[in-house]
Amino acid sequence: MRIRTWAFFTGQAFSSMRRNSWMTVASIGTVAVTMIVLGIFLLLGGNINNIAGNIESQVEVSIYLQDEITSGQVDDLAQKFAAMEQVALVKYVSKEEALQELREMYGESGDFLAGLELDNPLRNGFRLRTHRPEQVLEIVPTLRSFDGVAEVQYGQGFVEQLFAVTNVMRVVALGLMLGLASAATFIIANTIRITVFARRREISIMKYVGATDWFIRWPFVIEGMTLGLVGSLIAAGLVAWAYSAAVVNLAVTIPFFPLVKPWPFLLGVSGWLLLIGTTIGVLGSTLSLRRFLRV
């Protein structure tokens, strides 16, 4: 279509919004509120994912070796671990290194560790990381079956619970978002339906002079898209502002609380809000037009 025709459609959309200004404000407001709630969920979801990811990535398998094991057997085991397809990282930790780590962990209060290097009670061992945290559960039985392995620890129980909780949270967040998005779609559909209804006489005139359905539809689609876009822009702006402020304040009051850094996280969240808001607008107007085009 010609650019001029698009200019005409846009002009039509905007004059319709001006004429029904209170309805326009109301639906932009509704979209904004919905998108703010959705934005809060996205922020929460992102942070939950981040925390879960942090914890998950720290899931490690510690393997303690029998004391009488030879260095040849240790090399042999290292190769066997590395050959397992789930294993991403194999690290040998001698008992001296383990002691050193304990010292660093306890710092000044680590006096009780003094003198232990003479008779180190710790054991030589390995630490493994898997490609995906949940693979830990798969490999533990195999690890236990190797000769020379005295003990395998992986935070039993805790890992299973963590996965269960994060999965439930993801499903709940997704469900809430879908619910909110469809509610906003119906609100826009209603707004457009009111303008379509007010203009059904004009629509029938357009049909008599030979306008195609898309010629009639576009101004309404542009109107819905604009309502969705403006509403979600407001929401994205508010959400971004509030989150940035929250990050700054939390850094002071609760240091080390692992909030996701605003940049580029907020860019992603705003992008999603704009995309969903605009889609909702287009969807709403298309829905409400279907019935009225049969003239």
Partner: protein, 228 residues
């Protein structure tokens, strides 16, 4: 130009609006469709505009069968048929010029063609000096002239006028009839549904009379007749 072969329209509730109507209208003809209320005049116009499909029979506009068009083809049929109604059907918040140019925007005519053609048709219907007025600032007769200008701006093959003088006083009605005659003189076929006995009797054009869904009379230089 316009041909109907054995066209019948029976509505879902069993009402027979048209039965076995045969009608042929040639290019450049001026035809009055007359008959009492419920005779099938409105159904006839709705079928020609593809607002409804005939139950039986065939309708041909400009050598194209139109009784079974897909919805996406209907707009292109309507661009070949200009329409004027008793209630004018103008956009109230658009100026006269905008109402007329809209029909050209719909077919995506070039801007230069619109700027040239719109003043021409406004001149032809005698509204050259009211281009910037809103319909609400015009009299009924003037509003109908705007509708006429809009109907012919794309140079349709057929002009379908459904009681174009129904809301107008006799003098104004004659003004509209003169415009219609001018349009007809330039080669546009005109089909006019009307109850205006004096106009039909005076003009002495072809008269097709409908009654109970049938064509009961078709005279080349006819009069309104006695049926109400």
């Amino acid at each position: 130009m316009l041909e109907l072969y054995a066209v019948s329209k029976i509505y879902g509730n069993g009402v027979v609006a048209l039965r076995d109507v045969d009608l042929k209208v040639n290019k450049g003809e001026f035809v009055f469709i007359v008959g009492p209320s419920g005779a099938g005049k409105t159904t006839l116009t709705r079928l020609i505009l593809a607002e409804e499909k005939p139950t039986k029979g065939q309708i041909i506009v400009n050598n194209k069968v139109v009784n079974n068009l897909r919805p996406s083809e209907i707009p292109y049929l309507r661009r070949q048929i200009g329409t004027v109604f008793q209630d004018f059907r103008l956009m109230h918040n658009w100026t006269v010029e905008e109402n007329v140019s809209f029909a050209m925007k719909v077919i995506e005519a070039p801007r230069r063609a619109i700027r040239k053609r719109v003043p021409e048709v406004l001149e032809m219907v005698g509204l050259a000096n009211k281009a910037k007025h809103l319909p609400t600032q015009l009299s009924g007769g003037e509003q109908q002239r705007v509708a006429l200008a809009r109907a012919i701006v794309n140079q349709p093959y057929i002009l379908l006028a459904d009681e174009p003088t129904g809301n107008l006083d006799p003098e104004t009605a004659w003004g509209i009839m003169r415009v219609l005659q001018d349009i007809n003189a330039q080669g546009t076929t005109i089909l006019m549904v009307t109850h205006a006995k004096n106009i039909v009797d005076e003009m002495r054009k072809r008269v097709v009379a409908l009654e109970g869904g049938r064509i009961v009379r078709d005279e080349t230089r006819g009069a309104y007749g006695n049926e109400n």
